[in-house]
């Protein structure tokens, strides 16, 4: 793995290997001294053309816990009409000697362009591009699902999260992703990754918020949330954020996608009644930030089944794993050898020192 641009680039073994590495990283984060020396002397640049304090802080925390030097570069607003600034900014970063560039951009494909342009030598990590991909979000979602649900069959509900899920994929799990699929990079990333890991994914949305061409995606599509909850009994339900601008006629694409917020909530919001339709062990997820009262009610967001806060914490562990595998784990290219036999040793630290630090 040289870059992380899309979950489409990950096969099952590589994805499981990242999740296993993230589990090791997470274990170190419960210690008193959280910092690892692994990326000392390496430089990670957070290049954000679009505001996202949460994602930036998550990557920044991950890089710092691995002892990397972090440069935050906010280029918001400078590249909307002209793309030259992506190139010029990239050349500047190259001159600074960036080992990894974490890029968030409003244009789909910008990280891909950056990675293949020859403008930078470092690893490119896609931190969200337009309505295309947000691979670390999907990885942290898969990590969260695996931790909570994948072991549910093996243990009683109470013991979930206690057993070691190392090496496991998500085979047989049913996941519902609900909301604005059309504009969601989170949905695109998750559909591909969850399917690669063996889960069955159902997208639920009003037809206006499902892209033309969705028939080629490895998932099912439904326009009826209640039916999906009742008939499929999903193990996890992921609520997507609905942006306010989608409701006005002046919004992107030139027209409202649904009549009004109330009608949306009635059809696709997760409230206490729908929560009760879910199986006992099912978890409620949201990539944040939430619109409480629109796609998710306070009852659902604050219920014990909601793992929304934990998703944030897992985000740091997953991003540590990605940075580690891209920058230090030169053997990570053979990640596909990890598979279900993956152990802490094969997960990557190269030197005895690092291994001690991580294990």
């Amino acid at each position: 793995m040289r870059h992380l641009l899309s979950t489409a680039d990950l096969d099952s073994a590589a994805a499981v290997h990242i999740l296993d590495t993230a589990a090791q990283m997470a274990a170190t984060q419960s210690r008193e001294i959280k910092k690892l020396p692994t990326l000392r002397g390496r430089t990670v640049v957070n290049l954000f053309f679009e505001d996202s304090t949460r994602t930036r802080i998550s990557f920044e925390t991950a890089a710092k816990r691995l002892s990397a030097d972090v440069i935050n570069f906010s280029a918001k607003g400078s590249s909307v009409s002209k793309g030259e600034s992506l190139k010029d900014t990239a050349l500047t970063l190259q001159a600074m000697g960036a080992d990894a560039v974490v890029v968030r951009h409003q244009s789909s494909g910008a990280p891909h362009t950056l990675a293949h342009s020859g403008w930078v030598d470092g690893a490119v990590i896609n931190a969200g591009d337009g309505t295309h991909q947000h691979p670390t979000q999907a990885l942290l979602d898969a990590f969260t699902i695996r931790r909570h649900v994948a072991m549910a069959g093996a243990a009683g509900a109470g013991a979930i999260g206690q057993l070691d899920p190392t090496g496991r994929d998500l085979a047989g799990l049913k996941i519902a992703i609900v909301g604005d699929v059309l504009h969601s990079r989170v949905a695109r990333s998750n559909v591909l990754l969850l399917r690669t890991l063996g889960a069955d994914v159902t997208l639920v949305a009003p037809p206006t918020l499902v892209p033309v061409g969705v028939e080629a995606w490895p998932c099912r599509v439904s326009y009826h949330l209640d039916e999906v909850l009742r008939d499929q009994q999903p193990d996890a339900i992921m609520m997507l954020r609905v942006q306010r601008e989608r409701m006005s006629a002046g919004g992107a694409g030139g027209g409202a996608f649904f009549p009004n917020p109330l009608e949306y909530t009635r059809g696709f919001g997760l409230d206490a009644r729908r929560l009760a339709l879910l199986p006992e062990h099912a978890i409620v997820m949201h990539p944040g930030p939430m619109n409480r009262g629109l796609e998710i009610s306070a009852d659902a967001a604050d219920s014990p089944r909601a793992v929304i806060v934990e998703q944030v914490a897992n985000g740091v562990a997953v991003r540590m794993a990605v940075l580690y595998l891209l920058l230090a784990g030169d053997s990570a290219g053979s990640a596909s050898t990890a598979g279900s036999a993956s152990t802490a040793g094969s997960a990557g630290p190269r030197t005895a020192d690092e291994r001690t630090a991580i294990a």
Binding site: L86, S107, A110, G255
Partner: protein
């Protein structure tokens, strides 16, 4: 034309038929046939030995009437960094063209008699091909007020083709008025069919690939809805409509239907829509960003079929040069468009001739006579798109269909390098182009105007053929 070099084209195959000899003299095709050429030369020698004579060994070459492009963006005035009339028309000659129609979306817009006359004169001065300016339909391409169509028609440029290309004439009332108004001087409205509201923010064809890439879709229906409306308007007011760069299977069906009703509509397809699909967008390389966008394999098949069966009348290049800055960036920020003048004939050969769908006579129809007829330039003092016949203007293109060449955009005559065919090996190479008997291209190389006359000796007959 007296005193200009005469050319004997030995053993060329007119429209791919039986090989024969052609004599080009005094700007015209003076003789066709081995005996006729021998006789004509013998006769001519008795009265003018001073005129240079160049023989070209044309064995294996196909002779076509000089190609006519109804859809070229020459960028001058305004974007001389991307192309000038000189560089663009030299590229046209290199591609086998003897005439191009220069689109109106320049800066300033070609919406007055003054601007179209300027473009026309610059074309004449450059001398590579006949430049016929296209006039804007609306002032500033803004889609609100009719431009001075009558004044442009009456100008020295004698504009007959009007288009807001780059923009669609969206307002149905403005479209109706334009169609009606040009009837007075036998003009045609060339529409860039794109429903504006359905394509807000559109980046690529809407379908499986756009869904995966997260790029805003440009649905086929946005093209088809405008074509459907426009053919009905053309029928209602009894005027002429030309549909630019048709790109979808549904559009082919609509044109077929309209023609079956007797509606006076013509349609155009670009070389890139004959050859390329939206799968190429997967790498987010803006070189493949074009409007209308690359479509699916099923659409490519439909436009090939439509061109072969005559539903689609012509191939227009939509040559759209762009500076490096406008393509060297992320997809959404990049400009739409591809160069095409120097690859068009090769792409048509590859997709239509080598596949057995069309003959070289068909190529002459879709790339010369039909576009010239639509543009109303088959008559007057500089007729184009005429048959290869004795007495006709010597607008002739020689192509070597057996040649293979690799596209290196930086080596092309166009000032821009945004060819989608970079690195591809293509069949067919333009060996020579003659504009009214003057060689603009010989031996695959451009021949500047000043060195053309009397410089026949600079191109020995023996080497004129070699590649």
């Amino acid at each position: 034309m007296t005193g200009s070099t005469r050319y004997v084209l030995r053993g060329v195959a007119p429209l791919g038929g039986e090989p024969t000899d052609l004599l080009l003299a005094d700007g015209r095709i003076a003789a066709i046939g081995i005996e006729a050429v021998t006789d004509a030369l013998a006769e001519a020698l008795t009265w003018d030995v001073a005129v240079p004579l160049v023989e070209i060994d044309g064995a294996g070459l196909v002779a076509l009437p000089g190609l006519v492009d109804l859809h070229t963006h020459l960028r001058e005035p305004g974007r001389e960094d991307a192309e000038t009339i000189e560089s663009g028309t030299r590229a046209a000659a290199m591609g086998g063209f003897t005439s191009v129609h220069a689109m109106a979306n320049t800066t300033p817009v070609a919406d007055t008699a003054g601007v179209v006359e300027q473009v026309w004169r610059l074309g004449r001065d450059a001398g590579w091909v006949d430049v016929h300016p296209v006039g804007a339909v609306s002032v500033g391409l803004a889609g609100e007020h009719l431009a001075e169509l009558g004044a442009m028609a009456a100008s020295a440029a004698q504009v007959r083709v009007f288009s807001d290309d780059g923009m669609c004439v969206t307002d149905p009332v403005l479209m109706r008025r334009a169609l009606e108004y040009v009837k007075a001087f036998d003009g045609v409205i060339a529409q860039h069919s794109q429903e504006t509201r359905l394509t807000a923010g559109a980046q690529m064809h809407e379908g499986i690939v756009s869904a995966e890439l997260g790029l805003t879709g440009w649905p086929a229906v946005a093209e088809e809805a405008i074509i459907a409306r426009d053919v009905l308007l053309a029928e209602h007011v009894g005027s002429r409509l030309h549909v630019c760069h048709l790109s979808t299977a549904g559009s082919v069906d609509l044109i077929r239907w309209a023609k079956s009703r007797g509606i006076d509509v013509t349609a155009e397809v670009t070389p890139h829509h004959l050859a390329l699909t939206d799968d190429l967008v997967r790498g987010y390389d803006p070189i493949f960003k074009v409007n209308p966008p690359l479509r699916t394999a099923a659409d490519v098949e439909a436009v090939r079929q439509g061109l072969a069966d005559g539903t689609i009348d012509i191939v227009g290049t939509d040559h759209a040069p762009h500076s490096r800055e406008d393509k060297d960036c992320e997809w959404a920020a990049a400009a739409n468009g591809m160069t095409g003048l120097e690859t068009a004939l090769s792409i048509v050969q590859q997709t239509m001739v080598d596949t057995g769908r069309m003959t070289w006579a068909d190529v002459a129809r879709v790339m010369s006579s039909a576009p010239a007829t639509i543009g109303r330039i088959t008559g007057g003092d500089r007729p184009q798109g005429r048959p290869l016949a004795v007495g006709e203007p010597a607008n002739v293109t020689l192509v070597d269909p057996a040649a293979r060449w690799t596209v290196i955009p930086e080596q092309q005559a166009t000032a821009s390098a945004n060819s989608p065919f970079r690195g591809r090996e293509l069949p067919g190479r333009v060996v020579a182009t003659f504009l009214r008997g003057r060689a603009t291209v010989l031996d695959g190389r451009a021949v500047p105007l000043r060195s053309a006359d009397g410089a026949g000796a600079a191109v020995p007959a023996s080497s004129a053929r070699g590649l």
